[in-house]
Symmetry: C2
Subunit: 177 residues, 2 copies
């Protein structure tokens, strides 16, 4: 009845969802804080942000696999086209649709479809949301401290080195961005 | 990644789904043959079968992570309660609901909920479908040839040894089942 009803002070903003009651090892992804950040320098950064990543694996105490629950708004890209040296990657679309770009070309992945990228296979991949609604997907990988990523599109002048977890981005010739 | 040994058997019958047009690295899970098999001896075998497992990770050429798309009929159990020594496990419910049994007790996981089990944490887990419709979930793990599984329910007289991938099941005292 009022524009400012009695709202408990410490709660997160109300949604239409019920409160979360699951306890670890169970987890409701809606209870995990969404991160909206990228290690990319410009001009790549604004191609991927804003987006929401919920680190489900971290929230569950997993260290050998990484699991992100990601919401990609219309017009945004999951990453630049890349491949990993030591980490398998897997993507499963939960809602909406994304365009998968690889050497094969473009394929449309709708909810229930998936894709997988074996470590060391030099075929860069990227998801692009060309639809008018958010796309939601799970992204999964093993974790390997020896891993690094290579970027596949010639116009993406990006190198990540020396290692994936702690590296920094430069241009391909090593100069800063 | 599984609590059961890989036992080659004939493939399950084809489904009624139409042919898929996606090409690797993309994949429509409906185009992957469903396996209905278990390495468990009785009386555990009939507690988990029939069920459908689609090995998405294998179909995509992934070797460092395992990804199964599993359909568990009403009344069936995902596995006996167990935990892994060297493999993180993650489950995401896609449709229906399952009861997660751990040391904490029972929690109901509906579509969109998940759970994670860090390697080496001695808290056995199991999913049970107590509903009247099939439950569908993704199960994910890293793969580690040193992995083995331990069974947590006292009435489950089961040991898997010596190694996860190629081991066999016996009773806890080592005698055959």
């Amino acid at each position: 009845m009022l524009a400012e009803a009695a709202v408990p002070v410490n709660r997160a903003p109300q949604t239409t969802e019920p409160p979360m009651s699951l306890q670890k090892p169970a987890l409701d992804p809606r209870g995990v804080s969404a991160l909206n950040r990228s290690g990319y320098p410009e001009p790549y950064r604004t191609r991927v942000l804003p987006r929401e990543k919920r680190r489900l694996g971290d929230a569950l105490g997993l260290t050998r696999i990484g699991i992100n629950h990601t919401t990609l708004p219309p017009g945004k890209e999951s990453s630049m086209r890349h491949w990993h040296t030591h980490e398998d990657e897997f993507v499963y679309v939960l809602a909406g649709e994304v365009v998968l770009r690889t050497e094969l070309g473009e394929q449309l992945l709708s909810a229930g479809m998936c894709a997988g990228f074996p470590a060391g296979t030099a075929d860069g991949h990227q998801l692009v949301n060309r639809s008018d609604r958010p796309a939601v997907y799970l992204e999964v990988s093993n974790r390997d401290s020896a891993d690094t990523a290579h970027y596949a599109d010639p116009e993406v002048d990006l190198v990540f080195s020396p290692a994936h977890a702690r590296g920094t981005f430069t241009r391909r010739d090593g100069t800063p961005l």
